[in-house]
Symmetry: C2
């Protein structure tokens, strides 16, 4: 199978990290997609033109990152998606991390694609406040990551990694418990360094 | 349990429609959240400040809409989230509908929150093209909705309903198969009319 992604994509990183953790890394070929190029096949593979998208051997396509991660977990008979009562807090933690990423990316896009005089400070502030409230909540509710992380833990780690990558790690000030959690996660998780985002 | 939502939210509609289909409507109290009001408790219930968010009887919170729908399905022992091979196309269809909704909402926000002279036509075009490619793909790949819809079907119906609500139903031109599919879905699905979005 082929993962269409890019080295900078935090949602692509979720999938790559999931593949590392599940021991599936060598089963997946990763090819770079340019979502800004109308000729790139990504718009045929995923009408939204978004990465990551997984191309299966039968030619069918899976997206978004959450679906890809759950599919990989099922292939490996993994435990990244708990069953029973533990499922709902894990998936809600995933949604928090994903929402922090969405809010981070909207800030990056605002700076990248809009001339300075047309940027909207209220919008930037509103997106940043989502990230900051997420960080405050996490600092007070540190994920109870077990010997193996779940999809929520993985996504929070990718969200924090993206803040390190694009926002100079400013989140680290004032969140010592979360900084310590990320260090433990990084030390314990195969592929964390190898999947670090870069341009 | 309490669903924090608003009458206009397409993601809230997904949850309400799911509750109707599963026969859980009377178990859920729906209260309106104002995500623009810093004093609204939604920012405590969900650090992202987003609706829908489900407040459980034990005081814990579930989000986003996908998690809420899967939780309700598990409570009712429903079949909205297939197991086995049928799971991945259903969840990918969900992701397509959700992505079309995200792209639609970004266009609405652009028009609502930015002065006209600072709007970015490239951004609006890019978001609209995601919706249009999604519609073209769906027109050629009509969902194979069975006697009971799955979460993918529900989300596509909510996405099309949102295009009717905010974009004057312009999508209907050129997509006769999809128009016919939505009519069949609406006729067969309890709660479709009752959950129609309004301001």
């Amino acid at each position: 199978m082929i993962l269409r992604s890019s080295p900078a994509s935090p949602f692509g990183r979720k999938c790559k990290l999931t593949a590392y953790i599940l021991g599936l890394k060598d089963k997946i070929e990763i090819t770079r997609a340019d979502t800004t190029d109308p000729e790139d096949s990504i718009r045929k593979e995923n009408p939204l033109g978004k990465i990551p998208t997984l191309v299966l051997d039968d030619g069918s396509h899976l997206y978004d990152s959450l679906v890809i991660c759950e599919y990989l977990d099922s292939l490996a008979e993994g435990t990244l998606f708990p069953q029973g009562d533990a499922r709902w807090p894990a998936l809600t933690l995933h949604a928090l991390g994903n929402g922090m990423l969405d809010a981070s990316l909207l800030q990056v896009y605002e700076m990248r694609f809009r001339p300075e005089e047309t940027r909207n400070q209220d919008w930037l502030t509103s997106q940043n406040e989502k990230v900051q409230r997420g960080l405050s909540w996490l600092e007070a509710n540190i994920p109870q990551t077990g010997a193996r992380p779940n999809i929520g833990d993985i996504t929070i780690a990718c969200a924090l990694g993206y803040l390190d990558f694009r926002f100079e790690g400013a989140w680290r000030d004032g969140h010592p418990n979360l900084v310590a959690w990320l260090k433990r996660f990084a030390d314990a998780t195969p592929g964390f360094e190898e999947t670090r985002p870069h341009d």
